[in-house]
């Protein structure tokens, strides 16, 4: 038991040092002081590298619509899991829990993207049951 705790602690210490960024320092682009929660409909999906971007129309309380772009990861991993940009159809309603761009524009990093019922939009294969319908082709 003691060995197990030591192991976990040791690796934990190491992992604290390993940088979490994959492509770039997200903190340089997005503002931790500006969390956003947006509900919108998908208008366009840019299924590209280095990051996929999902465009959504968000309607505010006054009915004004603003188009936001939401950053995801590299689409290659999702492609391998059978998801494509067609897996996310135009008009789908999504909820984005993220952080707004530092320059205040309508851009956010898509920390969590879910359907309205809370199911995750993009999932690993262990959660295949809640994945959106994959493009059959």
């Amino acid at each position: 038991m003691r060995t197990k705790l030591m192991l976990v602690a040791g690796f934990g210490a190491l992992l604290a040092v390993v940088p979490a960024w994959a492509h770039h320092a997200f903190a340089a682009e997005f503002d931790a002081q500006k969390p956003v929660k947006l509900t919108g409909t998908v208008t366009k999906v840019e299924w590209i590298n280095p990051h996929a971007w999902i465009h959504i129309d968000v309607k505010d309380a006054d009915g004004k619509v603003t188009n936001w772009m939401i950053e995801g990861g590299s689409p290659n991993t999702l492609l391998r899991r059978g998801m494509t940009k067609n897996s996310l159809e135009t008009g789908t309603v999504v909820v984005v829990d993220g952080y707004q761009a530092k320059d205040g524009t309508s851009r956010a990093n898509g920390r969590d993207i879910t359907f309205q019922d809370g199911r995750k939009l993009f999932v690993g294969s262990s959660d295949a049951a809640s994945a959106p319908p994959a493009d059959a082709k």
Binding site: T3, K4, M6, L7, V8, A9, G10, F11, G12, A13, L14, L15, V18, A20, W21, A22, H23, H24, A25, F26, A27, A28, E29, F30, D31, A32, P35, I48, N49, P50, A52, W53, M69, E71, G72, G73, S74, N76, T77, L78, L79, R80, R81, Y99, A101, K102, D103, G104, R107, N109, R111, D112, I113, K120, F122, V123, G124, S125, S126, D127
Partner: protein, 337 residues
């Protein structure tokens, strides 16, 4: 707690190569013990099929994803290998800690975790030998002592990631879509797209990295390296066969890429051996006296995957660079600059 692991459902389980892998490690370290003769005999049990040109066939798409770290964690000093039980516990701990679905740690940590776990594919397992570091030499599994110049190079790279950017040249090579650090050479696991494809002809071996889609062309005809004045982003590679192992010698690096503190004088030696049908054992040795007190070597078994490799046209959608620079200008405006 349900762990969400990156998928390996399409991948075969690791083929039984732990003995061969360990044998290879023993056979190739300068401090090889007397057991190496026996280990080499075990390693020879698998013979790679041949290409039409009669070369060992290393072709295919290989993934080097693993959670085994390059260097041995301090808490495991003196413990070169985990038991099967310890490895399982380590994997569970690492997968839980690395899970990007975590919402603990406050907003700043959240921003860094960027997007959820579904996008990541960093591997969920340690290497099959359960060695606690990818480094096999020196035996302590640590990068040797760094020179002052090497430390400065590392500090400059860290500074680049945090300072306010005046322009794109202030940002990292990966943010500029010029070069991906873990694609190297040498090649190391990364957050995702840990895939590379090897194609062989009679005269060349080509290695294509998924991220960020560079191809290294390695001539096998024994031609010399270019003059030292010629410097290339990926260095200049030359290959030859030693038995069933492809040995690749790379020099002529620029000073723009820094591998753990390395300089333009980096001399890299890579060895590729197919140690099982589904396993390509990749070993690299770093020789750079201006950076490291002595040479060091790491080994990563890579697993054959079905592929395909997808295109990674990095700059096609590089909105990130625009966002970073725009954010920097906005911060200056707010600070009244």
């Amino acid at each position: 707690m349900k762990h969400r692991f990156a998928t390996w459902s399409g991948f075969a389980t690791w083929s039984v190569c732990s003995i061969a892998g360990a044998a290879l490690a023993l056979a190739q370290t300068p401090a090889a013990k007397p057991a190496s003769a026996k280990a080499a005999a075990i390693a020879k049990k698998y013979t790679a099929p041949r290409t039409a040109d009669g070369q060992p066939d290393l072709q295919g798409i290989w993934s080097n994803a693993t959670i085994t770290p390059l260097e041995r964690p301090d808490d495991l000093a003196g413990k070169p290998t985990l038991t099967a039980k310890e490895a399982a516990e380590y994997e569970a701990a690492v997968n839980a800690r690395e899970n990007r679905d975590r919402r603990d740690g406050g907003n700043a940590a959240d921003v860094g975790r960027a997007y959820n776990e579904a996008w990541y594919d960093r591997g969920t397992k340690v290497i099959e030998t359960r060695r606690t570091s990818l480094i096999i030499d020196p035996p302590d599994g640590k990068i040797p002592a760094l020179s002052g110049a090497a430390k400065q190079r590392i500090a400059a790279a860290a500074d680049r990631r945090t300072r306010v950017a005046e322009g794109p040249e202030d940002r990292t090579l990966s943010e500029r879509c010029l070069n991906w650090a873990t694609a190297g050479p040498p090649m190391l696991p990364s957050a995702y797209n840990n895939n590379y494809q090897i194609v062989q002809t009679r005269d060349f071996v080509a290695i294509s990295n998924e991220q960020i889609h560079d191809v290294r062309m390695i001539p096998l005809d024994g031609r010399p390296h270019p003059p030292k004045e010629v410097r290339q982003w990926l260095g200049d590679s030359r290959g030859h066969w030693e038995g069933d192992t492809l040995v690749v010698d790379t020099t002529n690096f620029t000073d723009k890429t820094v591998f753990r503190g390395s300089s333009a004088n980096l001399h890299l030696t890579e060895r590729f051996t197919r140690t099982a049908a589904d396993t390509l054992t990749y070993t690299f040795s770093v020789d750079d006296p201006s950076s490291f007190a002595h040479p060091w070597t790491a080994q990563i078994p890579s697993e054959k995957i079905d592929g395909p490799i997808f295109e990674y046209a990095c700059h096609e959608g590089n909105y990130g660079m625009v966002g970073i620079l725009s954010g920097a200008r906005d911060a200056e405006k707010k600070a009244g600059k």
